[in-house]
């Protein structure tokens, strides 16, 4: 078997020992697994750093993946699959054209589903390098990217991932993500989260980005992040760990302290520290299919504790008991439900719910 034009940028990987090449490919497969554990990613990083030949082998994999990016488009992948199916080696085995028809069905199905069917898949290896991901309301999802970086998508969120030689770009289209970038190698392209309002460039490994009301909200947890509003180059700002800022396309506004509790959602919790009930309900509503609201006269009650977002009914019951408010549920005839908290017989002060003691805070 001769070399491939795909290898042109890492021609010297031909000097990689066969067992190293085999291991590299095994890593690739392990990292593709939908449930790849953080420990696996850490072990893979360590392997890369262990020996220059390991890194060389991995670079070969990345450079070939660079040649495969158009297969990232699900339509192209399906078309490729259909075209490759009836090859010579296949013709004998089964029925080539039947298998092509089958693959074609996938293309057409896809056309009808608008890509949703593919988005729902976690296991999209070659496409994964540039695939789009989204979560449903109430869903949370962890993605391990091509470079080992990790993205956790919060409820009702969507991202595009575009990696190339120049940058590792994650485009946040909706919702909220927590980023944990892989070891920044000097040769690794910069990691950037882009929104309509501008970019947040990782200068440290951990930060969260959230889209809300036409603004982008960045919480820097470790290291620092460089914010660049889209329409104002001069307004770029480096934000260090422990700060949370918001920005529009023209300016960075606001700066409040932040810590890990603001991303407790990544473990499935909302952590409230004497939060206004109205704000808390607004936050909780992001995870609920039902419309949630509260009456203005109880909006300023204070809520503290950690609440599991996977069980909204239980959270509401807790609020009802501890705050002494009532839950009024209205089901519309078309099936939509709305839940409103209203003043109860003996509305009281701060709630410290039972859920708080059982909740685990993120490390």
């Amino acid at each position: 078997m001769s070399a491939s034009p795909w290898y042109s940028s890492t021609a010297d990987a031909a000097g990689v020992p066969p067992e190293v090449a085999e291991r590299a490919v095994q890593w690739l497969l392990e990292l593709q697994a939908p449930d790849a554990a953080p420990a696996t990613v850490a072990a893979w990083r360590a392997w890369r750093a262990e020996d220059p030949r390991h890194e060389l082998a991995w670079q070969r994999i990345e450079s070939v993946n660079g040649r495969l990016t158009h297969l990232a488009d699900p339509h192209n992948a399906a078309i490729a699959r259909a075209a490759l199916a009836p090859s010579r080696s296949h013709a004998r085995q089964a029925n080539g054209s039947a298998s092509r028809r089958h693959a074609l069905k996938a293309v057409l199905l896809l056309a009808g589903a608008g890509g949703v069917a593919w988005g729902a898949r976690e296991y999209v290896p070659w496409r994964a390098w540039t695939a789009d991901y989204r979560t449903a309301v109430g869903e949370r999802r962890t993605l391990v990217l091509a470079d080992g970086s990790e993205l956790i998508l919060n409820t009702d969120s969507a991202v595009d991932v575009r990696f190339d030689d120049a940058q590792r770009l994650v485009r946040l289209l909706a919702g909220e993500i927590l980023v944990r970038t892989a070891n920044a190698w000097s040769s690794t392209p910069p990691f950037v989260v882009e929104t309509a309002q501008g970019t947040a460039l990782a200068l440290g490994p951990r930060y969260a980005v959230r889209l809300e009301d036409g603004e982008t909200d960045v919480s820097v947890l470790t290291g620092a992040v460089r914010i660049q509003p889209a329409r104002s180059a001069a307004r770029a700002r480096v934000v260090s760990a422990g700060h949370r800022v918001r920005y529009s396309a023209s300016a960075v506004i606001g700066d409040v302290p932040v810590d890990d509790t603001s991303v407790a959602w990544s473990d499935g919790y909302i952590v409230a520290r004497s939060m206004r009930l109205a704000d808390f309900i607004g936050e909780l509503a992001r995870y609920s299919m039902d419309a949630l609201s509260c009456d203005p006269d109880i909006a300023d009650l204070r809520v503290s504790g950690s609440f599991p977002v996977a069980d909204i009914g239980r959270v509401l019951d807790t609020l009802s008991m501890t705050l002494g408010v009532r839950i009024r549920t209205v089901t519309r005839f078309w099936g939509a439900r709305s839940v409103r908290l209203v003043a109860g017989p003996g509305a009281s002060g701060v709630v410290a719910p039972a859920a708080a003691s059982s909740g685990t805070l993120p490390s």
Binding site: A80, Y123, W126
Partner: protein, 172 residues
């Protein structure tokens, strides 16, 4: 068993002047098309010029030329076959997913290379690979579809991946 014949040093130029017409005829018999034969004969010599694979002495220059040309012919056939399959698929894809000529060329190029790299793998290995990497099916789904075990699926996928990424290392 050495032949007593004296072998003169061979250059691409002498090969060309001595055997170009013959090669064109040989190719035309295989391809049944004069124009394609001329193209591939041309490509054969281009390839020789750009590689250092011409032995200094050639006892069987025509056998050598046909080996190189045969490789180009099978590439040509593979490409033609794929292109046809590709166009067949495209013909059935809704308008809005039609590709520009550039996109077509790039995708076809990728397909040809992928097909070439996977060539020679057992059909079932290739099948497992395509189901997993292009269809995005899980190992369990591939195992069920091909009626093999999950460890076997993994082994097959690894084998094909090895081909794609490190074909030049000729790992088994």
């Amino acid at each position: 068993m050495n032949s007593p014949a004296i072998c003169l040093p061979t250059t691409v130029a002498t090969l060309y002047s001595d055997h170009h017409s013959w090669l064109k005829g040989w190719l035309q018999r295989r391809l049944g098309n004069a124009e394609q034969a001329a193209d591939l004969a041309h490509d054969t010599f281009i390839r020789l010029l750009s590689s250092e694979r011409v032995p200094v002495t050639l006892k069987e220059p025509r056998a050598f030329l046909t080996t190189v040309a045969q490789h180009l012919v099978s590439n040509h056939w593979r490409r033609e076959k794929l292109e046809k399959a590709y166009l067949d698929v495209l013909a059935q894809v809704p308008e809005e997913y039609a590709h520009s000529p550039e996109e077509r060329a790039i995708l076809l190029e990728t397909l040809v290379e992928l097909d070439r790299l996977l060539d020679g793998l057992p059909a079932i290995v290739r099948h497992a690979f395509l189901l997993s990497q292009l269809d995005g099916r899980t190992h369990a789904e591939v195992a069920a579809a091909l009626d093999i075990s999950i460890p076997t699926v993994k082994r097959y996928i690894l084998k094909a991946l090895q081909r794609c990424y490190f074909a030049d290392l000729s790992v088994a």
